[in-house]
Symmetry: D2
Subunit: 326 residues, 4 copies
Amino acid sequence: MKMVPKRPLKQDVTLKTLEQMAGRVKNWGRWGPEDQLGTLNFVTPDDIKKAAALVKRGKAFSLGLDFNSNGPQRTGWGGRFNPIHTMLATGTDAVAGRFDETNKLRFSDDAINMPVQAATHWDSLGHIFLDDKMYNGHHARRVDGGGVHVLGIEHTRARMVGRGVLLDVARHKGVDWFEDGYGISNDELDATAKAQGVEIRKGDFVIVRTGQMERCLAEKKWGDYAGGPAPGVRFENCYWCQDKQIAAICTDTWGVEVRPNETGDANQPWHWIVIPAMGLCMGEIFYLKELAQDCHDDGVYEFFFCGPPLIITGGTGSPINPQAIK
Amino acid sequence: MKMVPKRPLKQDVTLKTLEQMAGRVKNWGRWGPEDQLGTLNFVTPDDIKKAAALVKRGKAFSLGLDFNSNGPQRTGWGGRFNPIHTMLATGTDAVAGRFDETNKLRFSDDAINMPVQAATHWDSLGHIFLDDKMYNGHHARRVDGGGVHVLGIEHTRARMVGRGVLLDVARHKGVDWFEDGYGISNDELDATAKAQGVEIRKGDFVIVRTGQMERCLAEKKWGDYAGGPAPGVRFENCYWCQDKQIAAICTDTWGVEVRPNETGDANQPWHWIVIPAMGLCMGEIFYLKELAQDCHDDGVYEFFFCGPPLIITGGTGSPINPQAIK
Amino acid sequence: MKMVPKRPLKQDVTLKTLEQMAGRVKNWGRWGPEDQLGTLNFVTPDDIKKAAALVKRGKAFSLGLDFNSNGPQRTGWGGRFNPIHTMLATGTDAVAGRFDETNKLRFSDDAINMPVQAATHWDSLGHIFLDDKMYNGHHARRVDGGGVHVLGIEHTRARMVGRGVLLDVARHKGVDWFEDGYGISNDELDATAKAQGVEIRKGDFVIVRTGQMERCLAEKKWGDYAGGPAPGVRFENCYWCQDKQIAAICTDTWGVEVRPNETGDANQPWHWIVIPAMGLCMGEIFYLKELAQDCHDDGVYEFFFCGPPLIITGGTGSPINPQAIK
Amino acid sequence: MKMVPKRPLKQDVTLKTLEQMAGRVKNWGRWGPEDQLGTLNFVTPDDIKKAAALVKRGKAFSLGLDFNSNGPQRTGWGGRFNPIHTMLATGTDAVAGRFDETNKLRFSDDAINMPVQAATHWDSLGHIFLDDKMYNGHHARRVDGGGVHVLGIEHTRARMVGRGVLLDVARHKGVDWFEDGYGISNDELDATAKAQGVEIRKGDFVIVRTGQMERCLAEKKWGDYAGGPAPGVRFENCYWCQDKQIAAICTDTWGVEVRPNETGDANQPWHWIVIPAMGLCMGEIFYLKELAQDCHDDGVYEFFFCGPPLIITGGTGSPINPQAIK
């Protein structure tokens, strides 16, 4: 097992830097005043058509985590909890003859209860605020006890389809996983793509592998995975996403960006900018082990991507089971 | 608005008929004693590859219902309820400055609670029992208060991908929707396919449109949609699914089969057979309006289908947002 | 079955009236700037001691509704739903031998999920706001996505004990139940007490019976019970509660006050005042049938009252099963 | 801080012993074939009347734990979880003006979700099975995915009232808390009562203090409190409860009885007997710190006890906030 030593990152991001960055990468109005999709607008029908042509072996990979009580919510961040699965009817009921007189069909049934961001999930554009505003200038007060009344995840119901690209940065750097606190630079992302022989294009669903989740799974211990220190993209990644015009960025970590953050003035400065200013679609807690191995084996790092959200009206996001199909 | 008059169906299915049918279409052992996938085994990598080639316009359709408190669970069948969405953090909290001192990031967060079969969903093979057994001979006692310990929905995590075919039976018969109690025969399914110029093949995800959901949406009233009378396939459909070797059957109704059923001796006789005896994958409460209109418009009733389940460990099914991509 | 004809109430309460009333009955600071109990402060140890002396027959009455899916939440007011009861382990599991190898104890287990105000409940003083303030001047922003950070129901953990008095206004007026929209005046409360031979004292838990719940139970139909028209106290009741210095007011209706309200400018004007201005403790959806019959039979309308809340940290209230002991 | 050294208990209870004990203390039929109350039948109206006379100072003590995410469910025993509190409406919504146009009342609202036995609670008689039977011979199959169809907690709605007695065994033995694994003998219970100058009578609600919870609270660490090692009554306590004819036994531990148990053949052998054979009412996870101090201070260990359950139809128990009133 190899790990790149953690590089202490400078804490040089300030509230001023954040304000400047927000101005630099702001996409408000870019797709009209009514837009609720942000960077998902970059995906064209032609992109989807070409992405489908990447299906050459007919092999699907699930990028979702198992949703159960052994999930990553260990630290109780923000009141989140692991999925709770309870039964409404069971096979033991059937065997005991409980349905035979009344229902005359032997069945089982159940319910699931979870924070929408408990495990593998999309963030909606209503999840993070810049001052009192959301993406496209919508007012934050429109997210209340009744839900996300604008920019909810339901707007993406048929938009999470396109070309997927895996950037296996950890493998490129020769490690099984990065240490917590390791900040991935834009240059490293570009170098990884180049080494993998894959190009990042407008409208891509870019998936960055740090290996952190695989470390947790190997150690059978989530620890502070949810909300604690993690490897991830540096703050400068705001530029990279904006310049590449990608549709979405996804990772195998809880929050995409490196933690501890490059600032003590803010928490998750990259989130602070890319969701409300840029309107960037973001996927977190992706399970990448098998896909990454396969890409390494056949040398093909692009694929058809399909990660439909549950259409949770007013959701700040959605639990998902994204598919990469090669 | 046109409706085919309801044909009173003979109540000629008996427990004896059920037993015979189970024997006729039983697939236990067909894919080995350890198999947990049933008819999803019909889908080959080549099928997936060819299905991807059906993506010609790059247009995705969502076949999922909106998950919220206005869902179809009105009659409380089996203790089911509509999705419950509650908040953990809001934009109004942000505006009120609630995060500024502690979290230093302004965000919203929420949770969703629902029966897995509350709205658009897959059934798992652990959902229905034949006497004391499940598909492939697994004992029903393995579904208990702790969940579905065999045949749970998690096994399908990367298998809900392939060729989709819409059989718009309602439109073929010249109606907006069938009346409740209308039983669709195998001949009608074949005639619809022929009229649409589409062939049903081994490994297909077949989607049958009755129009019932669209009637409910038009009338803004779910009524007894969940568990009450409905149009649907007749009991003889067991043969059709088995002979065609389809991967899955899906519809816009609560339970695929016609209700009232063709028997007073059992409840949902088709379920009784196809899940535990045949191992048939089944999708219910699909939203088909836009897909059906598009297929009618361009005359193309086949497409790439991708409907990944949430990986709910031990689930009797999963809420989904299936995608049809043309 | 007799009903007093509904008297059309004048719609003469205005926002100006509300403001004046708030000034008249405001108790902010009365029990110190840190107080979180409001009118529960009226109850003294001596009151509790004397109340205990009212236990003469050793007979306890439950004033709680059964918590299940047949509860009063039919109209979905504010996203509320009936209690959801799901199982974690069952007797059928036991019979099927599911625990014998692992747990070696045969047991059942379950969970309950409900809005705290779904059925019989207390409101906490953090439930209603007057402009941007709560009782005692606490700012409304202290109730956020994380809960009620001041004035939560947990503060009342050992305070819901004292002298209970039933005012069976419906029976006093000779009816089984009042019609919806019937407004109970202060004079009627006093006349009922007088006719019953009971005196209202400082620190009492006063329980007002309208009969509305019994009508719903008799008709087996909740209809608009939760949030719709109802009999109840008139707006002038603010004076009555303040003058009598009662500890709490409770009823068999959803919201104590008459609906439709005596104003079109506000919703639930009595709530608007008594919770945030006065700091009045309030119990709703009490089941009174048996207690009322017993009081009528023995002519004794006072009793020991004990209605402990669940100690839900930060709750806007709590589900309860209050006890009246005679 | 003093602790009595843990005495290693003999593992001398066998399945044979269990069978014999069940025969010795079985109360089936004692209160008729339809009885669903078990030992609560011991409480008479006269007992309640006399208990009320114990209220001499008008001081109420709450014996309930705070219900929140910091509860004792740390080890995930049986899929249990700590209470989950989510919001439906907030004060920040109010301040942001979210209600002003539509609802015209500024309010907050919320929901609570918890296993009924997550924190302070009663067990119902449907919670534990003896072979395939429950108390009074009811068949275990009557507890299924739909709930506890016989012996549910709802039957006790007005029965949790009577004379309470605290047996502060830990203090009597001169320790702040017993070590885990310390088994309390019947002689120690009797000696404690004698030293405290209190007599155990038929129909009493007996509350045994081990100090374990106070240790957890002092150490701010629940550890294995839920389901792990604990001080508690020895298996011989079955005799004691039966001979004394008490109404209920309650403690400050998760499971009343000592753990590890005095047997490797069974789990919780005392539960195995007292619930299904004897029909004993049982309260767990009681918070006793303040009550115990007060009893020590005034030397009075008897009081009026009132611990009404939520009327959860078909519940295996109920969360509670019991009151001891002196």
